[in-house]
């Protein structure tokens, strides 16, 4: 039992590539909203403190990986007296269920929220079937 408790306290290996991280910073799973419209799948990911240049998005086969690197909060001559959140990196993986038009993916970042628009590939779009009148 004791041995098991110890292993859970250790730094969790990165889910993205299975290796351990070299930077000792906390890694958070960002909160995300995902919704689907007729043509697109839209992802909204909360990553406060991450500048647009610090966002890294990769799509490999059906696995979408989102990473965000937040800058350290530095306050010279200030001393921290109360903490509810800490700066860290964000990492999250999604498996896409439908074929996505890879070239049409759009990403934007506003007010610390990443917005990804993944257009559905043509065959996955719903087709309306007309009834022939007999």
């Amino acid at each position: 039992m004791a041995q098991e408790l110890k292993t859970t306290e250790r730094q969790v290996p990165s889910k993205l590539d299975g290796g351990e991280r070299t930077r000792s910073r906390p890694v958070f799973v960002p909160r995300a909203d995902i919704y689907e419209t007729q043509d697109n799948i839209v992802l909204l990911v909360d990553m406060p403190g991450v500048v647009p240049e610090g966002v890294d998005i990769t799509l490999e086969k059906r696995t979408l990986a989102i990473r965000g690197y937040a800058a350290d909060q530095q306050h010279q001559t200030y001393r921290q007296i109360y903490t509810e959140f800490s700066a860290g990196d964000y990492e999250r993986l999604f498996t896409l269920s439908e074929d996505i038009d890879r070239d049409g993916i759009e990403a934007s970042q506003k007010n610390g929220v990443l917005r990804l628009v993944l257009p559905k590939a043509a065959p996955a779009k719903a087709r309306k079937i007309q009834l022939k009148m007999a």
Partner: protein, 144 residues
């Protein structure tokens, strides 16, 4: 006589419990206890005559946030809009909270409402507040 005869039955309850624990740990690995936490989460920093408050406010436009300073309190008021441009959108996942929020933070000392510096970038708010001149501690010279 063997210490346990679980092997004979074919089920080891301890092995089963370890397996369940492992499974629970895996499931809970990505869950943060954000639901019970107040919004926005804040950090407080203290300097000699000033205090800095940082808050995580992702998805909120600077115009949608109201900051009020009174005596030694700082109040955040705002609204997080649920964002869909399409009424017929199908939700796959909904983890980001929305709705209006209000939070009042007590600062370690009274602050000058005229001397407030607020910066808001990438969903991270930074407010710097200063102690009024009259309240600053004065060093008293001792005559020999």
């Amino acid at each position: 006589m063997p210490l346990s005869d679980f092997g004979r039955i074919g089920i080891d309850p301890f092995l089963e419990m370890r397996r369940m624990q492992h499974e629970m740990n895996q499931r809970l690995a990505g869950v943060t206890d954000g639901a019970a936490q107040e919004f926005p989460p804040i950090n407080l920093w203290v300097g000699e005559n000033s205090v800095a408050v940082t808050a995580e406010l992702p998805g909120i436009a600077p115009d949608d946030l109201d900051l009020t300073v009174r005596e030694n309190t700082l109040t955040f008021n705002g609204n997080r809009e649920p964002r869909t441009e399409d009424e017929n959108a199908v939700w796959h996942r909904r983890e980001r909270a929305f709705g209006s929020f209000s939070r009042t933070v007590q600062l370690p000392f009274r602050v000058d409402p005229e001397l407030v510096d607020a910066r808001f970038a990438n969903g991270l708010l930074e407010v710097e507040l200063h102690r009024p001149e009259a309240d600053r501690p004065k060093k008293i010279q001792i005559k020999g």
